[in-house]
């Protein structure tokens, strides 16, 4: 890391020296052309640079995809994830096409039509047909995008309460998450922040004891989900706005104090299955190599090395919420229905917690 720092500083120093000399040199009065208006020589050189810049944009694009292409859009692990991904890649393909063509036009024209004293520009002020074409084409393209977008959106966001679905409350506070499962009755008991101080603070999410539905509720600090079953999330926050972001499931919803927000998805890949996917194995290997490198430096400084990384699904906070916003997370475990049942049976429900 220090080597890198020194390199950076060296680069910066070189550049500043170069720039300083350039400034010095350029601020000297030159005999030739003092007008400060671009002449043919400038136009020629700058025009060529413009064309070269097109190459730079393309190379930067290719370089970025080659070097970092593997980090984007992790494997989708929810049922709607594949629809989401096809819409994303479709939109991406379109954007790339337009970007490649229009950038080429902008920079090629800047090069091709670079000015010369003897030339005259083509007086061309208007063409209704051309303008109609490039109003119409984006219109049709966007109509298609809007259609698919809204279709998928409605599909994802239409949440119907049903007996099959698992209802889970995600509860946010500075700076951690809790999950509340509805228990045997399948109904979450009423809750409010006013009840948080009941039972010496054991009432972690403020369940209302006057509501009998609440006693079998289970509050946990890990989110376990059975694979293949729809999960309806009810989201609450006790202090500021947080956002429950689960990138692998293409799922996100804000948690807003004073209201209950909703999101639903069906996980389709268990954590264990995910760890076996070649992309994930590759990623974990890459990350562990980086962590080993970083550990070497830590050991040299007499500090503890980093733990090796194992893949897990993530729940992150994605709405600025204070100092530890960057570390507000919860582990998500997707497992078989049997494993899930075992796990939930081991948890204490609300009546057990308050009587203990």
């Amino acid at each position: 890391m220090t080597v890198l720092l020194i390199l950076v500083i060296l680069v910066l120093v070189t550049i500043s020296i170069w720039q300083l000399t350039k400034i010095f040199e350029l601020s000297q009065p030159s005999i030739k052309d003092e007008s400060q208006i671009a002449n043919d020589k400038d136009n020629d050189f700058q025009g060529k640079l413009m064309f070269a810049f097109l190459g730079f944009i393309y190379i930067l694009t290719i370089f970025s995809f080659w070097k970092w292409g593997d980090v984007i859009l992790p494997v989708a692990a929810s049922e709607h994830g594949s629809n989401f991904d096809s819409l994303m890649w479709g939109t991406f393909a379109l954007i790339f096409f337009v970007q490649t063509v229009t950038q080429a036009l902008v920079h090629y024209f800047s090069y091709k039509y670079r000015g010369e004293k003897t030339k005259k520009a083509f007086f061309y002020a208007d063409n209704d047909r051309l303008e109609a074409i490039w109003t119409f084409i984006p219109m049709v393209t966007l109509a298609v995008l809007i259609f698919f977008g809204l279709y998928t959106w409605t599909e994802i966001m239409t949440i119907e309460e049903n007996d099959e679905a698992l209802v889970v409350e995600l509860y946010a506070q500075q700076f951690n998450w809790k999950a509340r499962y509805a228990g045997e009755d399948g109904v979450l008991g009423n809750a409010n922040v006013r009840f948080l101080q009941d039972f010496d603070g054991k009432n972690l999410v403020g369940i209302d004891v006057t509501d009998p539905n609440g006693f079998d509720d289970v509050v946990t600090t890990e989110l376990h989900l059975p694979v293949g079953r729809e999960v309806i999330f009810k989201m609450r926050s006790q202090d500021v706005i947080h956002s429950a972001f689960m990138p692998h499931f293409r799922a996100q919803m804000n948690c807003v104090p004073g209201m209950i927000t909703e999101f639903a998805f069906t996980p389709v890949i268990t954590t264990d299955e995910m760890r076996q996917k070649p992309e994930i194995i590759e990623k974990v290997k890459k990350i562990n190599k980086i962590r080993e490198e970083n550990s070497k430096e830590l050991i040299a400084n007499g500090e503890e090395p980093l733990d090796p990384y194992v893949f897990d699904y993530l729940l992150l906070c994605n709405k600025i919420c204070g100092a530890s916003h960057y570390n507000m997370q919860m582990k998500i475990v997707v497992e078989t229905p049997e494993e899930y049942q075992n796990w939930i049976n081991q948890q204490q429900n609300f009546s057990q917690v308050i009587t203990n």
Binding site: M1, Q19, K22, L26, S27, Q36, I37, D42, F56, T61, V71, I72, L73, F84, M88, T91, I95, V98, Q99, T102, Q103, L105, V106, F109, S110, Y113, K120, A121, F122, Y124, A125, D126, P138, M139, L142, I146, G149, L150, W153, N192, V193, R194, G206, D239, V240, I241, P247, Q252, N254, P257, G258, T261, I287, L314, L316, C317, N318, G322, A323, Y326
Partner: protein, 596 residues
Amino acid sequence: MSAIGKSHEEEHGHHHHKETFITKYIFSQDHKMISKQYLVTGLFMAIIGIAMSLLFRLQLAWPEKSFGIFDAVLGKWAPDGVMDPNVYLALVTIHGTIMVFFVLTAGLSGTFSNLLIPLQIGARDMASGFLNMIAYWLFFLSSIIMIASLFVESGPAAAGWTVYPPLSALPQAQPGSGLGMTLWLVSMAVFIASSLLGSLNYIVTVINLRTEGMSMSRLPLTVWAFFITAVIGVVSFPVLLSASLLLIMDRSFGTSFFLSDIFIQGEVLHYQGGSPVLYEHLFWFLGHPEVYIILLPALGITSEIISTNARKPIFGYRAMVASILAIAFLSTIVWGHHMFITGMNPFLGSVFTFTTLLIAIPSAVKAFNYITTLWKGNLQLNPAMLFSIGLVSTFISGGLTGIILGDSTLDINVHDTYFVVAHFHLVMGISALYGLFAGVYHWFPKMYGRMMNKNLGYLHFWVTAIGAYAIFFPMHFIGMAGLPRRYYSNTAFPYFDDIADINVFITISALITGLAQLVFLYNFIHSMFYGKETEQNPWKSNTLEWTSQIKHIHGNWPGKIPHVYRWAYDYSKPGQDKDFVPQNIPLKKGEEELQH
């Protein structure tokens, strides 16, 4: 050089006999002086804003490392030279606030609306010089308050530039929500007053003070852009003022407009029945039009500069005006796309997706019209022209990713990630900054009577252009990987270890690009005093400002105000001797005015 300075001083007495130093340079009511005041204040704020971004970029690339510069600049907020997370949040908050409002709203629009509206429409000054002066001084005052907030004990506002309550409303939630936040709100309230006074003045001036012959359909596109920008400002800024006032009420007087059911630091608060989502609606009702308040002046400036330097009429003048109007109208009905996943009814999300994606149509029309204007031109690649072409490029690159963010479905996974940061920095931050730079290079002779050094301008452009893409293109990848914005570091998630090198790449690019801005500053200040003196019309432009006197006088034209006989874009018109025909030249016998 000194001789020039002297003659300037001597003549000073003749033209402005009653003016003292204070009325000329400080409490000036002359639009040209006020425009320079906006520019200098804006540039000063830009230095602070950009320097802040470099500080937090260091933290992002080398998280929790000790830097001497942190120790020096942040003092107790960086114990042992390691940046504190609260300070990180404060830095991103103030960086955003300063760049959006103080640099790209007041600095850009304030400077060029003031300079160009009277000069290009043929008016002696703004409709009300006095209000114009007040507007600047309110802006100055709000800048002072914002800067003062950096020095309070608990630190400046740190809830993000959008300052969503409850985080911004509760001092218990974070240190930055104490006095720093109060100052932020007061500063914004003053800023909005300034912006409204300015905008009303621009609107009245454009409507009433056009010279004879300057019909609306002959207005240069710059003036169209400034005019419509002012209209959007008047429509939307008051809503932010009300949001700020309500937030002040919640913070200081115990009301519950935005707060309900809150338990914090072991205490149940009394707030009942308010909703943070209401604040989000009010904020974004300004917040989104604000994007266009920033962008439209930049687009107006580039339209003018591209046409002048291509020696060609702007292609599709009517379509350009129509798309400004369409963008302005649509901009006021798309705010909900910032709120797809806030718990707002999903059906509203559908409506906002629809209106949002519609904005792509007038934007595409503008982009294609720029490209066609370049086609078969005789491009004079001055620094201003390079920045204008650069704007077209970043406007396209940044605008296209808006199609992803504006789509409520796709927004689910990229909302509030670095993808958003990359998108809006390219399409609005960098594009508008390019507009600002282009404007300064182009109208510097009009403002200071001298030319800026072109070679330094070229150097500035190329380092900035390469740097801007090197910073923001890779940033999309971090966002697509799922890393949220406003994270002090990504070290809490081993999952993100493989993007650490992208952050290093970005920070190095940012440091180099930041450094390149010093070239501009040097060029700006040096040219102000020692630049080559300008000729009357250095860029051979058609618009009226180049017919006004080089040395500034009150009233702009010593004699009569010129009349206007044609539109502003008769470049390389067949049948003319020169490749430009200024607006004040009457039509030749038999010459037809273009039906535009």
